[in-house]
């Protein structure tokens, strides 16, 4: 089966969109999506890590011995995560304060390790880059959507801008942990209604 760059890229956007289809990497998905901005920021950070680690793992796939591949993946992923953390601290400090602990936790995000193991280790650099980009954008969109819904209902704002005026009583349950589960569950449900699996 010939794999094309386009199909590897687009599968991450719908057919295998990470949190909803693969149901992977739920810790940051539930933890940081209290606002849309946080969701998108986290998504972009993860996208960068995904692309870089996919490219490097794929480029080194013939050199890395099978028995220590996981250790090598972790070194590669952890390096890029730290780069993102430092860069975010230097250029987007407020976002860094918001995301806090979740940035270093990208290291153990199953999506990143999963794509390295399941895809990049077996495919060439171009395909892996396309896969990383697609998965990353899919992840970002999912987090943005989840964050957007929770923000609109939970605090009555959309990307920081007030929507309903001062009389709106925010449904703060949605920005707390249980609200994250409920919202994610409903979105999974909707995805399954429309998607043909």
């Amino acid at each position: 089966m010939a794999k094309s760059i386009t199909s590897e890229f687009t599968k991450g956007l719908w057919n295998e969109i990470p949190p909803f289809r693969l149901v992977l990497g739920l810790c940051p998905v539930l933890g940081v999506t209290t606002t849309m901005q946080n969701g998108l920021g986290m998504g972009l950070a993860t996208t960068f890590v995904l692309i870089c680690s996919n490219i490097l793992v794929s480029a080194l796939r013939n050199l890395i011995p099978g028995k220590v591949r996981i250790a090598c993946f972790i070194i590669i992923i952890a390096t890029f995560v730290t780069v993102v953390e430092l860069a975010m601290q230097a250029y987007a400090y407020q976002l860094f304060q918001q995301l806090g602990m979740f940035i270093p936790l990208i290291v153990v995000n199953c999506i990143v390790l999963g794509r390295a193991e399941a895809f990049a280790f077996k495919n060439n650099v171009m395909l892996s880059a396309a896969d990383g980009l697609g998965m990353g954008i899919g992840f970002t969109l999912s987090l943005g959507a989840l964050g957007g819904v929770r923000e609109i209902i939970g605090t009555g704002t959309f990307y920081g801008a007030s929507l309903f005026g001062p009389s709106f009583q925010p449904f703060s349950f949605m920005v707390q942990a249980p609200g994250a589960f409920v919202c994610l569950g409903l979105m999974l449900c909707i995805m399954n209604m429309f998607g043909s699996k």
């Binding site: 080194l60 050199l63 890395i64 011995p65 028995k67 220590v68 250790a71 090598c72 070194i75 590669i76 952890a78 390096t79 730290t82 780069v83 430092l86 860069a87 601290q89 230097a90 250029y91 400090y93 407020q94 304060q97």
Partner: protein, 197 residues
């Protein structure tokens, strides 16, 4: 045996590459991160302590080396005279390190104002040291040359009820700041001359 050597070599090379990359990024972002911390974490506290100063105290700062440590002092110009400095010290609070900014008037060695910066104290109890401005104003007018203590220990600061550990930590940090200040006073006065124009 050959496989073993290959594993060791690959892991070593990968770690070395990762270490090099991280060191480069760290050096590249260090100053920027310091600026961001000043702007978002320490800046607001400094501005509050030096309310009414005619200069930008975050920008007007100098460093004095105190043994192996470099202390940063922020300068406040009042009535055209650079007579007040802020220095930051820390002590261990109830949970994690507690950072304190202390504004000192060099003319009479008295505290003009103080503010807690970084802390992880209990919300509602110890966190009042940072969030409740009326508590921290107790430090105003106290001489830094003496030890600062809570009333339970024979001092003059009323502890936050239910948060004696935090209150003691703040006093300890303030006492520490006083010691550093009296030790470095000649140098501070020398440096301040450059700011008075």
């Amino acid at each position: 045996m050959r496989e073993m050597i290959k594993m060791v070599v690959v892991l070593t090379l990968l770690s070395a590459f990762s270490g090099g990359l991280l060191a480069a990024v760290r050096v590249g972002t260090k100053d920027q991160i310091e600026n961001q911390e000043l702007k978002f974490v320490k800046g607001p506290v400094i501005m509050q302590i030096f309310k009414g100063a005619s200069n930008d105290p975050v920008k007007d700062r100098f460093k004095i080396s105190d043994g192996d440590i470099e202390r940063i002092f922020f300068v406040g110009i009042f009535d055209g005279k650079a007579s007040r400095v802020i220095l930051e010290t820390s002590s261990s609070g109830f949970a994690d390190t507690l950072g304190l900014m202390l504004g000192i008037d060099v003319d009479d060695d008295k505290i003009m104002s103080a503010g807690v910066t970084t802390h992880k104290e209990t919300p509602g109890l110890g966190a009042k040291a940072a969030t409740d401005p009326s508590w921290i104003t107790q430090f105003k007018g106290i001489s830094v040359l003496n030890e600062i203590k809570v009333t339970n220990d024979g001092g003059e600061i009323n502890a936050i009820s239910g948060a004696t550990v935090t209150s003691r930590a703040v006093c300890l940090a303030a006492t520490d700041a006083g010691k550093i200040y009296s030790r470095l006073k000649p140098q501070i006065l020398e440096k301040l001359k450059d700011f008075t124009k």
